[in-house]
Every structure is written in C-alpha cells, then in structure tokens.
Amino acid sequence: MIDKNKFYHGDELPGKSDRKKMWKGIEDNLRVEKKRFFKTTLDTRSFVYGMAFTIIVSIFVLAAVRFVPGIVYDNKSEDVKINRAYSKAAEELERSIPNFISTLDKSERTRELLDVRLEELNYINDAINQYKNTLRQSDLTKIKQERLLELYQMKIDAINKIIQLKGDSWL
C-alpha cells in the first residue's frame, strides 16, 4: 500500500476557507430541505389530519341525523306522539278512499253525499296544512298540539262518513 502522505500532496487538501465555503453550501441546502420538509410534510400531515377530522365529524353528523330524531321524539310530550299517530292513521285511511269510492254504487244520491264528504275532507286537510305551517317543529305548546289533535280527529270522522256511504248505499 502506498503511504497516503506520500501520494497526496499538501496542496491537495482543502484550506480552512474552502471547508467553510463547502459547509455553508451544505448547511444552506439542509435549511431549504428543512423548510420544504415542514411545508410539504406538514402540509401533507395537515391534509391527512383534516381529512381524518372531516370523516370523524361526518360519522358523528350521520349518527346524529339517524339517532337524534328518535331520541328527541322519545323525549317529546305524549301529545306530540298521539298527534303523529293520528296523522299516520288518517293518512292510511285517506289512501284507501279512492279504491273505496270505486266500490260505491253510482246512484245520484250517493254521488251527492260523496261530494259533500270529500269537500268536507278537503276543507279539513287545508286547515291541518295551514295549522302545521304556522306550527314550528319545536313548538310543543300543549294548546297547539290539542288543536292539531282535534283536526286529525275531524279528518278521521270525515273519512268514516265516506266509508259509511257504503252502508247507506245498501239502503
């Protein structure tokens, strides 16, 4: 092996200023990399955390939309529950009216009575819709709920009267 000190000459070594210059270049580059690291990596991290947060929040919102109404409903007053039950029952009965009407006899008397009953039903439906529009979801005032209940009861009575037309028509 050749002696390094014999092979290399003294002037082939970097001087102090050369070493300083080289290190400065390296240091500046590392600094840029650090900034880029913070910018890129942090940006990437921010994005990932942001996405994760959005997903978690979305899950919570979906869960809230799914479960809270049920919970809120369960916590509502009995009046509201009864109103809803009446509303559902009335809608079910109302859905069956067209088929029922087709089974009635076509006598003039029956038709006249049917027209009156249908007009009455429409009048009650208008009243219900008007009242519901003025009544906000969160408005659980007992008096207002009771009034709505009366309207649903009137609607069911009106439908019952239409159904009774079948019995009358046999007369």
Binding site: I2, Y8, P14, M22
Partner: protein, 177 residues
C-alpha cells in the same frame, strides 16, 4: 464522538452532528476527488453535492458498509455525473501499446512518486480502482460496491493498471537516462 452516534444524531436532525461528520470526512474525500480534476471549485462542488446527498439519504445507510465507503460511492457518482454532463472524457489509454510483460510480474510493482503524473493518463475507472486499493486501502469487494462493478473487474483492472504504470515509468526513465 464515535461516528455511529454522530450518524444517529444526524438522523434526528442534529445539525451539529452533521457538521462533525463533515469535518471528519471532508479532507479525505476532497483530496481523493482532487486526483480527478485540478479545478478546485469543481472538486468543492462534488464534495458539497456528495455530503448533501449523503445527508438527504442518511436513513438508507444501514451500516452494511462503512460510512466512508458509502460516502465515497456517492461522491464518485456525483463526479461521474458531472463528467457525463460536461462531456468531459478522461483520456483513454490504449493499454495494448504499453503492455510489456518483461517489465512486470505479479507482486513486483513498486510505486514511484513520479508515477502520479502517469496516473492522469489513465481512464477514470483504472484511476479510481488504483487509488482506492493502493492508497485508500479498500478491498476489492468494497471497491466493487463503490464503483458498482464486479470484484473480478476490480482485480483485473488493478493488475492492468500496475502493468501500465510500471511500463510507462520504465519508458519514461529510459528516455531520461
């Protein structure tokens, strides 16, 4: 501080540790690369780029080879890239013309200081192998890793290089005698 600790600290982003590693290896690396160019600015650039690249890829250094081997490999690649980009072809020696069996047999190679200028006439590969083996003390397997060649190529080239140097030196001496 041992270099393993320095590397560990450097990996954590400790710039002082970077600086210590730089101080430890810069002289060796610089004077090695200086054999391939007399332009000191150019050599400084190679050294700088080598350290920057080494620091950027420090996490890929797994200690399979020595840090110096790894650093030399990066530096030589930077040098080669620079040569390629600047179309700087080192003069290729037509060794057949200088091959002389009668002047050289295995194990008789003797370095002479005057041979250093003859090295500059050799191609970069031979020069690298010769200096890495004869001066820096690397083994052929390490040279193979640094230069990305096979061990046998390293050995063959070294053998040829010694023959060429020996022959050229004798010729040069003969001219002066």
């Amino acid at each position: 501080m041992p270099k393993e600790i320095l590397i560990e600290k450097a990996l954590e982003g400790n710039q002082k540790a970077y600086k210590e590693l730089f101080d430890k290896y810069v002289n060796n690396l610089y004077r090695y690369l200086r054999q391939f160019s007399s332009d000191s600015d150019r050599v400084q650039e190679w050294v700088q780029k080598a350290f920057i690249k080494a620091f950027k890829n420090l996490e890929t250094f797994h200690g399979n080879s020595s840090f110096a081997t790894w650093l030399f490999k990066i530096a030589i690649n930077e040098m080669r890239t620079d040569f390629r980009n600047s179309s700087n072809k080192i003069h290729e020696e037509f060794e057949e013309n200088f091959y002389a069996d009668e002047y050289f047999t295995n194990g008789e190679f003797e370095w002479q200081d005057e041979m250093k200028c003859l090295l500059n006439d050799l191609d970069e590969m031979k020069k690298n192998i010769f200096i890495l083996y004869e001066v820096e003390g690397y083994k052929h397997n390490e040279i193979a890793e640094i230069l990305d060649i096979s061990e046998s190529l390293s050995k063959t080239n070294l053998h040829r290089t010694k023959k060429i140097l020996q022959d050229k030196w004798f010729k040069m001496r003969g001219q002066h005698d």
